[in-house]
């Protein structure tokens, strides 16, 4: 049985959904989408000598090298290997022939799934309104043509189009060989990088056919492989970017070197929302190597700042210290975290909320019963602290602008560099080296706007702007501070009868919109990220209400690995543990009982528990209190459960000694990469659980570098085991972010198991 392309396209089904909803013709037109539309070749596709381009996704050279164009950015998640594998599987070539190249900026490479996933509906909501909203956003994203990497969407977005690109190129290669041999295409097949004619025993390598094949029309319809025939997908493959990352030769944005390049160091107004009043640059301008001092006014996208340009970064940074800057601190100079907490607590008690889920009548049930469990939880702001500090290199000459930056959104870089440099969008070229960590931070345009504005003041001089680590920590877009109040009523059998979850905090989506398109930012816009991981629970709860109270704060917030899941999983899974305890039930059994109609989730939870030896005795020693905790979190269409094993030593020192993780992401395209991403997400989330807190005093961030914003290191990194639970290619989910949400609650629940202390605030402090 083979799979025809058209019916397998999920977006075709949406047409029917929209039709049933009342003949929505406009919507139907928006939904009309074929993968083939994305197989056109962008005009700016670079091709080397002897290279033939089949589409915007694949080129084959005369020597047989297959180069796959990767339109997503590599920030550690292995995407420059995963996406080429999609093409290679259908093209039928060897992995050893495979190379990747960063795709140029073009609308065929837009990440439509990212925008479609953002609709304020549960991911499992297949109702017509949710589907129409997703499809509309998908089409809008295609029209906007924004290339972006985030939301754990890259594989899902590429899944159809890149396999089609491989299959179409394969069909063209077969047609070219058949023509050359003067035989019917049906008599030919492919054999790992060559076309073969069985009856005559002739073969021709792809390299020898590429030029002819690429000149043929792509087939109207292609037949994709059945998953059982996959030779590459689902099998461990070595990453294509590892060699250069083990000898110092991998180039990140900060490694850009250009003839005559100068370096810029920057100081932003320490208080959020402040402005530059006056700067005396007399002394700095006399210092060796200093070329210019540039004042940067506050924009919606970037804070007020002063930059010094010199021949080395060290000289620029030193000269920055010699500036006498007077800031206008503005209206937020009294802002502090304690006051924010008080404001949020008051909102939780009585503020007007937006409801994201309302099933049954939770408030009524909670009002009826005598025993209501209730708890308040909180998490602080968090910085991203990517290893590579924010930086951007720009060159402005004769109405053109060239930019070098590791960015999660190169299309936006083009737009925002154009604006800041005062040139047309078409006059901007963006180079996209590796990202030294992204985690959502590199979707922002602040450093782009700054670098382009500085470079515009020094025409013809390439300028590399590098933020110090202190600027990076103090001028981030933070994971929001959030408080939550959870209330629960149990029925006579000790099961959840009603669940009410109120969350207060800022909206990341609104924050980003305000920075990029200020006119479009509105309180009317619902933001799914505020409640993700809270309004989309897999547990059976007959009455539940989940609501969010929007607060406006001068602290900029943005997407931080797993976004809302990063705090909601902590709130939900810790409170659920409290409820299980109150019901006198084992936390694992209690969750299992609520997953009767969620078999995939139950299987993941049970796998983690079983591999961790959930009911086995814990190793301990004198003065050591040991404990085990479990948590389940579904995010970005993947399901992850983790069991953490902790011990608390005599000095109240908390050590997480082991983490067992199970994930169902449908099928793991490159299994070792999925394991690596789980390890990565766990360590990232553990840093937040054990250490992370950004606090505000006098309108300023109090932390500035790793000594006061510590992260997990080798010595406190637990042993991590990852188990893949596979449920099928039709359930593909993301992996870049999904390892992060469950770790904080798993550890917090383990602390309770070890000590009886409930952890309701992060980072964890042992009483």
């Amino acid at each position: 049985m083979t799979q025809k392309s058209a019916p397998s396209n999920p977006r075709r089904r949406l047409l029917i959904g929209a039709g049933l909803a009342g003949g929505a013709l406009v919507v139907g037109a928006v939904l009309f989408y074929r993968p083939r539309d994305r197989l056109v070749r962008p005009g700016n596709l670079p091709t080397g000598p002897g290279e033939a381009a089949f589409s915007g996704w694949v080129k084959i050279a005369a020597d047989g090298t297959v180069t796959v164009l990767v339109p997503r950015q590599e920030m550690g998640q292995g995407i420059t290997t995963a996406l080429p594998l999609l093409v290679a599987e259908e093209l039928d070539c060897e992995v050893s022939q495979l190379r990747y190249e960063q795709a140029p900026i073009d609308s065929v490479y837009a990440n439509a799934t990212l925008l479609a996933d953002g609709v304020p509906f549960r991911p499992d909501d297949e109702g017509w309104l949710a589907q129409v909203m997703r499809a509309t956003r998908f089409r809008v994203a295609e029209l906007l043509g924004v290339q972006a990497t985030g939301g754990s969407t890259s594989v899902r977005d590429a899944w159809i189009v890149m396999r089609h690109a491989g299959a179409a190129a394969r069909a063209q290669l077969i047609a070219a060989a058949a023509k050359r041999w003067n035989v019917a295409a049906g008599e030919c097949r492919t054999e790992r990088g060559a076309v073969a004619h069985a009856s005559s025993g002739r073969t021709l390598a792809y390299g020898a056919l590429a030029a002819d094949a690429a000149a043929l029309d792509p087939p109207g319809e292609v037949t994709l492989k059945e998953p059982r025939d996959y030779r590459l997908l689902g099998k461990p493959q070595a990453r294509l970017d590892i060699a250069q990352k083990t000898d110092g030769s991998a180039k990140f944005g900060i490694d850009t070197r250009l003839p005559g390049m100068h370096y810029a160091a920057i100081a932003h107004c320490p208080v959020f929302g402040g402005a530059l009043q006056r700067v005396d640059a007399g002394k700095a301008k006399q210092m060796p190597g200093v070329r210019a001092v540039v004042e940067l006014a506050r924009t919606p996208t970037s804070a007020a700042a002063v930059a010094v340009v010199a021949d080395t970064w060290w000289r620029a940074q030193n000269a920055l210290g010699a500036l006498a800057i007077r800031w206008d601190e503005g209206e937020h100079a009294a802002l502090d975290s304690a006051r924010q907490h008080a404001t949020y607590s008051a909102l939780l008690a009585g503020g007007r909320a937006r409801t994201y889920e309302d099933v049954g009548d939770a408030p009524a049930v909670l009002g009826r019963v005598t025993k209501v469990l209730e708890a308040t939880y909180s998490v602080p702001y968090l910085a991203h602290a990517t290893m590579e500090p924010m930086n951007c290199t720009a060159l402005v000459t004769d109405g053109r602008c060239e930019v070098w930056i590791g960015s999660q959104a190169p299309t936006l870089v083009k737009w925002y560099a154009a604006g800041a440099a005062g040139v047309a969008r078409e006059a901007v070229t963006v180079h996209t080296p590796f990202l030294g960590g992204g985690f959502g931070r590199r979707a922002e345009m602040d450093v782009v706007v700054e670098a382009a504005a500085i470079a515009a003041r020094l025409p013809g001089v390439p300028v590399q702007l590098i933020w110090s680590r202190e600027e990076d920590i103090r001028h981030d877009v933070y994971r929001p501070l959030a408080l939550a109040k959870l209330r629960c009523a149990l029925d006579g059998n000790g099961a959840v009868a009603a669940w009410h979850h109120r969350i207060v905090g800022q909206s990341c989506t609104q924050g980003l919109t305000a920075r990029l398109l200020p006119l479009a930012a509105s309180d009317l816009m619902k933001d799914k990220t505020t409640v993700e991981g809270a309004f989309d629970l897999p547990y059976a709860m007959p009455n539940r209400r989940v609501e969010h109270l929007l607060s406006h704060q001068p602290v900029p917030v943005g997407f931080w690995r797993s976004v809302g899941h990063s705090y909601n999983a902590f709130f939900v899974e810790c409170f659920l543990d409290e409820v299980a305890h109150a019901a006198g039930r084992d936390p694992l059994d209690f969750r299992r009982a609520m997953l009767a109609s969620a078999p995939r989730q139950r299987r993941v939870l049970e796998t983690a528990a079983q591999k961790a030896g959930w009911k086995m005795p814990l190793a301990s020693g004198p003065g050591i209190r040991a404990g085990r905790g479990i948590a389940l979190a579904e995010s970005f269409r993947s399901i992850v459960a983790q069991v953490a094993e902790v011990e608390i030593g005599p000095e109240r020192a908390l050590r997480v000694r082991r983490v067992v993780c199970a994930i169902d992401c449908g099928r793991a395209l490159n299994p070792d990469t999925v394991v690596a991403q789980m390890e990565s997400g766990i360590v990232f989330g553990l840093s937040a659980a054990l250490h992370g807190a950004i606090t505000i005093k006098a309108g300023r961030v109090e932390q500035g570098n790793f000594p006061d914003y510590p992260v997990v290191q080798m010595a406190d990194c637990p042993a991590i085991e990852v188990h893949l639970v596979e449920s099928g290619w039709e359930h593909l989910g993301g992996v870049g972010e999904t390892g992060t949400p469950p770790i904080a609650p798993a550890v917090a629940n383990a602390v309770f198991h070890a000590t009886g202390q409930r952890v309701r605030e992060l980072p964890i402090r042992i009483a």
Partner: protein, 166 residues
């Protein structure tokens, strides 16, 4: 360059990087990191924190792992500096790099030069490190969380160095 300045340069101890001598006409208070990256164009050593907290800037100075973001040029003149670009000259390197590839250690890759240099120094000083010794020696920061793989790669390299025939 004036005659007097040239004479002074010739008297001065040289900057020795990966076996090559350089006349770095840079203020001697400049941290070595910026001399390597901005003056010599050796970008393998990375800027991560500027306060010797993360180790991304690590190089070997006379074989000792050194955080160059806080090490002034003056302190290393005349000493043998090995950066990631010159790491292949050290005996454990082939085993270490092969182990790194076998374990598929890097993710974003930014901290990896520093991780490799710190691991190289560890294996040179202690060819069979225990987990505790790895914890003590590898204090570099990695935000991608490659620690479990770094640990495995060090053990793998160590085993391969101890294998007969090596």
């Amino acid at each position: 360059m004036g005659a007097e300045r040239a004479a002074r340069c010739n008297r001065m101890p040289k900057l020795l990087v990966n076996g090559k001598a350089h006349d770095a006409d840079v203020d001697e208070a400049t941290p070595l990191l910026w001399v390597l990256r901005d003056t010599l164009g050796l970008t393998g050593s990375k800027f991560g924190c500027g306060v010797a907290a993360c180790g991304a800037c690590s190089v070997l100075v006379d074989g000792a792992p050194t955080r160059t973001c806080v090490t002034p040029l003056a302190a290393v003149l005349g000493k043998a500096i090995t950066t990631i670009e010159g790491a292949a000259s050290r005996a454990p390197w082939p085993a270490l790099r092969a182990a790194w590839i076998a374990e598929q250690v890097p993710q974003c890759g930014y901290c990896q030069s520093g991780m490799l240099i710190a691991s190289l120094a560890l294996l040179e000083a202690n060819p069979r490190p225990s987990d505790g010794e790895i914890d003590a020696a590898i204090t570099n920061i990695c935000r991608c969380g490659t620690y479990p793989r770094v640990r495995r790669a060090i053990h793998r390299a160590s085993a391969s160095l101890a294998a007969p025939g090596k």
